[in-house]
C-alpha cells in the first residue's frame, strides 16, 4: 500500500489526518484571533487589515479553500473514526462503565466539535457572507476612509485615504446584541476545551509526545487554551461592558 | 514388561551428543512436508518444538487447551534460566553446570541427558536474545547474571521477575510466525483426551473442543506431548488452575510408562494457606532468601505473639543453625523439609501454625528500606496485595508449597517414550532433574528439549517411517478412541451426584499432602493408597457435573482432570512406597541419617522406576531403568 493508502485506510492514518488538519486549523484560529485583536487599536488597524486580506485576491482564495478542505477532512476523519469506534465497541455495551482517567475535554470532543461547527457556520454567515444580521454587515455600513497607511512587515499595503469596509463597526454592532455575544463566548469556550485535548492529542498521534515532557506539554497547552479563550472573550466582553465603542468619527467620516 | 532402553550413545560424556547428532538419521528436506507431527501443549517446550519443527519444514499441528498458546504456565516462572556461558568469568563451565544439576537431583537422573542439557544451555541464551527476549543487562550493554538457588557461580539470566514470561513470549512469537506462514496449524481451546496407538506406534490423538464440545480425531506420523507437570494433583500448588495430567495420564493408560511419579518438588518460599476457599498458592521468588532470614520462635508459647516482641535470643534461625555453610540459601527440598520440621514441633507461626518468618529487618538495616525495595519491591507488593501486610514492617510469613514435578512419562535419550512415535518434552517427561530440581533449570530444560533436541531426534524416528504412511482417522483405532471419549463425557454429565468436582479435588489434595508430601512413611503411604481408592469410588458415585457437553463447560473439563488426578495420586503413593530410601524431594522417614538428612540407598535404588499400566483395577508393573554413573562419583549431598 502506498502512504496515501495507509493515510486514508488505517485508523492511525486517519488520526494523522485529524492531527495535521488540526494543526492547520489551530494555526488559523490563532492567526484569526491575533488579527482580530487589532480591534482594540485605532480603527485604521483592523479596517486596513481587512482590506489587506481582500487585496490578496487569489491567495485569499487558496487560504480559504485550504481551510475548507482541512475542516472537511477533519470532520470526515472524525466521522469515519467514530463510526468504526462504535462498531468496534460491539452490539452490547457495558451496563456500568467507569471512566478511570480520561479528561473531561477528551470525553466531550464530539459535542464540542458539533457546537464549534455550528458556530463557524453562523460566524461565516454573520461576518463573511452577511446573510444574518445583515443590517450591521460591512457592505451595508458606510465605508471607512483610512487616515494613515497600513503596513505589513514594513510595507505599506493599504494607503491613507482609501475607502474600505468598516469592519470594526460591524464587529461592535454585531456584538452589541447580547445573545450573539454570549453565543460567541460560549462557542469559543467550547473551542478552547476542544483544543485542550486536541492540541495535546496531536502530538501523541504524530508520535512526538512521551511522559518525559508530557506534563510540560499539558501545561503549555492548558495555558495557551486559556489565553486563547481570554483573547476571544475580550472582544465581545469589551463591547458588552462598553469598553469598546463605535468610533464617533466612523459615522461622520463618510458623507 | 515394557522395554526401557535409554539408548544412551557410547563414548565420552562430553562427546555423546555431538556424536549422536552425526549418527542419527535425517529426513530429506523434500520429504519433511510429507510428515505430520502433532504437538500438544504450547509452553516453553511445546511452542519451541512446534515452531522449530515448522521451520524445518514438517507439517505441524499444535493443540492447546488454553484460549491462546501464550497462556501456558511457563509464563509464571519468575527467577531465571541457567546457562553455562561463563560471561562472569567466575569459573562456570558446561561441566560445572552438569555437575551441579546432577548433584542437585541427588544422583537420580541420567548423566548423558544432563550433560546434553548443560551443553545446549548456551545455545538457548543465544536463541532467545536473537528472538528479542529483553534479558537484564549491565550498563555496558552486556548481559547481566545473578546467582540463584544456592549456585556458587552467577549463571542465571533473567528478565526482572518475569523470566518465564519473556522466554515464553519469545517462543510464542516464533510459533506465531510459523502459524502466520501456514507451517503450523494452531488449535486453541482443544484438549487432548486420548492417545491413539496403531500397531504399537503413537499415531494420533483425540481432541475435544472446549467451546463447542466437538470431539475430533487427528492422525500424525509422530505425537509430541509437552503438557507440563501434574502438581495440581495436590489441589493447592503454585501451578495454574488449569494445569493437569490428563494428556500424559491418558498416554500412560495407552502404554507409555510413567517414571518416578512421586518426585514432586515442594518450594520453600510460598505464601501460607489462609482459608478453606483457597485455590492457589503464590510463590515468592527464591531470590528473597538472598537477603531475608528465616526463623521461628524458640518456644512454642511465643508463636502467637507479634514477631517484633520476640527478642533476638528467643528466635531460632534454624537454617543458619542447621546448615551453616549454605544457611538460608540451601536447596529447595532441604529448606522445605526444615520448615516442616519446625512446624511439626509446634513452632510454626500464623493463624494455622503452618508458617515461618522470612525477616528483612537485618537487610533493611544494612541496605535501607529503599535498597530492599529496589531489589524486591515487586515481591513485597505481591505479598501486600495477598496478605494485606507490610513486609517492610513485619516479617513475611512463608510456607512450602508444591511447585514442580520431576516425575513424568519415561523417555529415552531421544525424548521418545517406550511407545514408538510418542515424544515427551519439558516438565511432562521425567528426564533431567532426578529427585530434585535446582532453581532456574526448568526453563532451561523446556527450551533445550524444544529448540535443540527434538528437531534432531524426531527426524531419527521419522526417517524409519514411510512418508505419508500415517493411518486414516477412519481406522478402527481412532473410531474406538472417539467412542471411548464420548462415553466418558456422557458418563460425567449423566451422573446423578451431589457434590461439585472441587470437593473431591480438595480432599485428594489433603490426602496427598499428608501422606505423600514433604515426609512420607510406609504406613502413611499405604493409608493414602486406601483413602484415594475410597475417594475415587465416592467421586464416581456422587460427583455432580452440571451443564451440557455442547458449550463451554468448565465443570466438565475439571471433572475429567480430577478423575485422572484421582488415579495418578494412587500411583504416586505406590511409587513413594516402593522407593525404600530417601533422595532429593522424596523423604521417607524410615530412611534418614541421625541428623534428619536423606539416606540414599544407591545399591538398591539407583534407578528410575517406570510404571506400566495394566488395566482398570490392576496393579501396575514397576519397571526399572538402572542409572549407570560412568563419569560422576555419587556422593552424599552435603550443604552443611
Amino acid at each position: 500500500m502506498n502512504p496515501l493508502g495507509h493515510l486514508f485506510c488505517s485508523t492511525i492514518g486517519r488520526k494523522v489526518i485529524m492531527a495535521v488538519t488540526g494543526i492547520v486549523l489551530i494555526g488559523f484560529v490563532i492567526g484569526h484571533l491575533v488579527g482580530n485583536l487589532q480591534v482594540f487599536e485605532e480603527p485604521d488597524r483592523i479596517n486596513g487589515y481587512a482590506q489587506f486580506l481582500h487585496t490578496l485576491g487569489p491567495v485569499l482564495w487558496v487560504m480559504r479553500i485550504t481551510l475548507l478542505v482541512c475542516a472537511g477532512l477533519h470532520i470526515w476523519a472524525a466521522t469515519v473514526l467514530t463510526i468504526e469506534d462504535r462498531k468496534a465497541r460491539g452490539a452490547v455495551d457495558y451496563r456500568t462503565k467507569t471512566w478511570i482517567q480520561a479528561t473531561l475535554s477528551s470525553r466531550y470532543m464530539r459535542w464540542t466539535g458539533y457546537v464549534v461547527l455550528a458556530f463557524v457556520i453562523y460566524h461565516l454567515a454573520q461576518f463573511t457572507l452577511g446573510s444574518v444580521q445583515s443590517a450591521s454587515y460591512k457592505e451595508n455600513l458606510p465605508e471607512y476612509t483610512m487616515n494613515a497607511d497600513y503596513h505589513v512587515m514594513g510595507i505599506p499595503v493599504v494607503h491613507a485615504g482609501t475607502h474600505v469596509h468598516d469592519v470594526r463597526s460591524m464587529v461592535i454592532l454585531g456584538f452589541s446584541q447580547p445573545i450573539v455575544a454570549f453565543f460567541y463566548i460560549f462557542a469559543v469556550g467550547l473551542l478552547s476545551l476542544h483544543l485542550l485535548h486536541g492540541a495535546q492529542s496531536l502530538f501523541q498521534t504524530l508520535g512526538l509526545r512521551n511522559s518525559s515532557w508530557g506534563k510540560a506539554l499539558r501545561a503549555i497547552v492548558t495555558l495557551a487554551c486559556l489565553a486563547y479563550f481570554l483573547g476571544n472573550l475580550a472582544i465581545p466582553g469589551a463591547v458588552l461592558t462598553g469598553h469598546l465603542k463605535l468610533n464617533p468619527a466612523s459615522a461622520s467620516s463618510t458623507p | 514388561m515394557a522395554q526401557l532402553d535409554p539408548k544412551i550413545p557410547s563414548g565420552p560424556l562430553a562427546e555423546k551428543w555431538r556424536k549422536h547428532k552425526m549418527d542419527i538419521k535425517l529426513v530429506n528436506p523434500a520429504n519433511k512436508r510429507k510428515y505430520e507431527i502433532i504437538v500438544v501443549g504450547a509452553g516453553l517446550a511445546g511452542s519451541s518444538a512446534a515452531a522449530t519443527l515448522g521451520e524445518l519444514g514438517y507439517k505441524v499441528k499444535n493443540f492447546v487447551f488454553h484460549d491462546s498458546p501464550r497462556r501456558a504456565h511457563s509464563i509464571a516462572a519468575q527467577g531465571g534460566i541457567n546457562a553455562a556461558k561463563n560471561y562472569q568469568n567466575d569459573g562456570d563451565s558446561v561441566h560445572r553446570l552438569f555437575y551441579d544439576t546432577i548433584k542437585g537431583g541427588d544422583y537420580r537422573a541420567r548423566e548423558a541427558n544432563i550433560h546434553r542439557l548443560a551443553e545446549v544451555s548456551v545455545n538457548i541464551i543465544d536463541q532467545c536474545v536473537a528472538q528479542g527476549v529483553p534479558f537484564a543487562r549491565e550498563y555496558g550493554g552486556l548481559l547481566a547474571n545473578r546467582s540463584f538457588g544456592g549456585a556458587q557461580v552467577s549463571r542465571t539470566f533473567y528478565a526482572r521477575g518475569q523470566t518465564g514470561q519473556q522466554l515464553l513470549l519469545g517462543a510464542y512469537s516464533a510459533l506465531s510466525r510459523m502459524v502466520g506462514s501456514g507451517a503450523v496449524e494452531l488449535n486453541t481451546h482443544s484438549e487432548m483426551l486420548d492417545l491413539v496407538v496403531v500397531d504399537g506406534h503413537a499415531k494420533g490423538i483425540i481432541v475435544r473442543d472446549l467451546t463447542t464440545g466437538v470431539i475430533t480425531a487427528h492422525s500424525a506420523d509422530a505425537v509430541i506431548l509437552a503438557t507440563g507437570g501434574y502438581g495440581n494433583v495436590f489441589n493447592l500448588s503454585t501451578y495454574a488452575r488449569g494445569s493437569n495430567t490428563t494428556a500424559i495420564w491418558r498416554a500412560y493408560k495407552k502404554g507409555a510408562c510413567f517414571a518416578n511419579p512421586s518426585y514432586a518438588q515442594i518450594h520453600p518460599t510460598c505464601i501460607p494457606v489462609s482459608g478453606d476457599y483457597q485455590s492457589k498458592l503464590t510463590l515468592m521468588s527464591e531470590s528473597l532468601r538472598n537477603d531475608g532470614r528465616i526463623w521461628v520462635p524458640k518456644n512454642k508459647e511465643d508463636c502467637g505473639k507479634p514477631p517484633a516482641s520476640i527478642p533476638e535470643a528467643d528466635r531460632d534461625y534454624y537454617l543458619e543453625r542447621m546448615y551453616p555453610a549454605f544457611g538460608n540459601l540451601c536447596p529447595r527440598d532441604i529448606a522445605s523439609r526444615a520448615a516442616k520440621r519446625v512446624c511439626d514441633e509446634g513452632r510454626g507461626v500464623g493463624e494455622t501454625g503452618l508458617g515461618v518468618y522470612l525477616d528483612f529487618a537485618d537487610a533493611i538495616k544494612r541496605l535501607g528500606e529503599a535498597g530492599v525495595r529496589e531489589r524486591y519491591g515487586n515481591l513485597f507488593d505481591i505479598y501486600h496485595e495477598i496478605t494485606n501486610e507490610n513486609a517492610y514492617k513485619v516479617p513475611m510469613r512463608i510456607f512450602p508449597a508444591v511447585h514442580y514435578t520431576m516425575g513424568g512419562l519415561w523417555v529415552d535419550y531421544n525424548l521418545m517414550s517406550n511407545l514408538p512415535g510418542l515424544f515427551v518434552l519439558g516438565e511432562a517427561n521425567f528426564s533431567d532433574h532426578g529427585a530434585n530440581r535446582l532453581g532456574a533449570s526448568a526453563l532451561m530444560q523446556g527450551l533445550a528439549d524444544g529448540y535443540f533436541v527434538i528437531p534432531y531426534t524426531v527426524g531419527d524416528y521419522l526417517a524409519g517411517q514411510k512418508p505419508n504412511s500415517r493411518p486414516s482417522v477412519n481406522s478402527h483405532e481412532f473410531v474406538k478412541a472417539i467412542a471411548d471419549v464420548e462415553s466418558s463425557v456422557a458418563r460425567f454429565l449423566s451422573n446423578k451426584g451431589k457434590e461439585p468436582v472441587s470437593y473431591y479435588h480438595k480432599r485428594l489434595g489433603k490426602i496427598l499432602w499428608q501422606h505423600c508430601g514433604m515426609a512420607r512413611n510406609k504406613a502413611g503411604l499405604e493409608q493414602g493408597i486406601k483413602e484415594i481408592a475410597q475417594l475415587r469410588e465416592e467421586f464416581w458415585a456422587n460427583v455432580k457435573v452440571p451443564g451440557s457437553a455442547d458449550t463451554l463447560n468448565q465443570s466438565l473439563e475439571q471433572a475429567g482432570r480430577v478423575a485422572d488426578f484421582l488415579e495418578l495420586g494412587e500411583l504416586m503413593c505406590r511409587d513413594a512406597l516402593s522407593r525404600e530410601e530417601s533422595c532429593g524431594c522424596h523423604f521417607r522417614e524410615e530412611y534418614q541419617h541421625p541428623d534428619g538428612e536423606c539416606k540414599r540407598d544407591d545399591e538398591n535404588f539407583s534407578h528410575v522406576a517406570a510404571w506400566e499400566y495394566q488395566g482398570e483395577g490392576k496393579t501396575p508393573i514397576r519397571n526399572v531403568e538402572k542409572l549407570n554413573y560412568e563419569f560422576t562419583k555419587m556422593s552424599v549431598r552435603n550443604y552443611k
Partner: protein, 270 residues
C-alpha cells in the same frame, strides 16, 4: 489494626452477566455471596458461588482464569465498570474481597468489544490478539542460527524500555477499557518491544505496517488518546508506547513509498 480489618467477613450481591453461548442473548442475574473473608480473592469468591450453584443443580458462572497470579492474562472481568476491578495495576485474579464493602452490589461483566465475542457468560474469545501477533509480532530467528548472545551489546536503557513494553500479558483490558475498543496499547507494546531492540530492526517497518493493518482488519477501533487503556492495564504499560507506535507507523508508511525495492528476491527468506 490490619488483623482486625482482616477478620471481619462480609456479604455482597453479585450482578453477573449470563449468556448461554455465542450470539445468544444475555442478561444480568443476581446472586448473593455470603460470609466472604476479606483475604479471599475475587475469583475464589466466584469458585464458592459456583460450587453453591452446582449443589443447587444450577449451571455455574463461566469465567476465564488460570494462573491466578496476574501473569497469564486469562482472567478478564469488568468489575463495577472497571476492567480487572478497582485496584490499580493488577489483574482480576489479584483483586481481593477487601476492596469491597459489606452489602455492596458488585456488577460483573465480560470484556466487551466486537472483536472479543462472548463464548459464554464472562468468557470471551480473544484470539484476535493471536492473529495480530501472527501478522508480524516476531523477530525471525531460526533455531540454531543465532550469534553469541553478547555479540551485540544493547544499552541498559533500551533493554529496560523494551522490557517495560514486553511485560504485556495480552489480557485485553486495554481493549475493554477503551470506549473505542482499540487495541493500540497491545499493538504498541509488541511493536515497541521488538522495535526498540537492535535485533528487531530488519523487520521493523514490515512489522508495524502488518500488525496495524491486521488490527484494523479485525475490527478494533482507533485511539482517541484518552489513555483509559494504560490506566486499566494490569502491568501499567505506558501509553508512551502508543505515541511510539504512531511515529513508527508514519515513518514506515513513508519509507515504504520512497525506499527502493529490490528487483528480485532470492526466495530464501520465507
Amino acid at each position: 489494626m490490619s488483623s482486625e480489618k482482616n477478620s471481619k467477613s462480609i456479604s455482597v450481591t453479585l450482578r453477573v452477566w449470563r449468556q448461554a453461548g455465542p450470539n445468544k442473548p444475555g442478561q444480568f442475574v443476581e446472586y448473593p455471596a455470603h460470609n466472604l473473608s476479606p483475604n479471599m480473592s475475587f475469583l475464589e469468591m466466584l469458585d464458592v458461588v459456583n460450587d453453591e450453584l452446582t449443589v443447587k443443580g444450577q449451571e455455574p458462572i463461566a469465567f476465564a482464569h488460570d494462573c491466578r497470579e496476574g501473569i497469564c492474562g486469562t482472567c478478564s472481568l469488568v468489575i463495577n465498570g472497571e476492567p480487572h476491578g478497582p485496584h490499580e495495576g493488577v489483574a482480576s485474579c489479584q483483586t481481593y474481597i477487601r476492596s469491597f464493602a459489606d452489602g455492596e452490589v458488585v456488577t460483573i461483566e465480560p470484556f466487551r468489544a466486537a472483536p472479543f465475542p462472548v463464548i459464554k457468560d464472562l468468557v470471551t474469545d480473544r484470539s484476535a490478539f493471536d492473529k495480530i501477533q501472527q501478522a508480524g509480532g516476531f523477530i525471525t530467528a531460526r533455531a540454531g542460527s543465532a550469534p553469541d548472545a553478547n555479540a551485540t551489546s544493547i544499552s541498559k536503557v533500551d533493554a529496560d524500555l523494551a522490557m517495560d513494553a514486553a511485560q504485556c500479558i495480552g489480557c485485553g483490558a486495554c481493549v475493554a477499557a477503551c470506549k473505542n475498543a482499540s487495541a493500540m496499547l497491545f499493538v504498541a507494546a509488541k511493536v515497541s518491544h521488538l522495535g526498540i531492540l537492535p535485533q528487531g530492526q530488519a523487520e521493523r517497518d514490515k512489522r508495524v505496517l502488518a500488525m496495524v493493518n491486521t488490527m484494523d482488519d479485525l475490527g478494533f477501533g482507533g485511539c482517541t488518546n484518552q489513555y483509559e487503556c494504560s490506566a486499566a492495564c494490569p502491568k501499567l504499560i505506558s501509553h508512551d508506547f502508543i505515541s511510539r507506535l504512531n511515529g513508527d507507523y508514519i515513518a514506515a508508511s513513508f519509507r515504504s513509498m520512497f525506499k527502493q525495492a529490490p528487483a528480485q528476491t532470492d526466495g530464501g527468506a520465507g
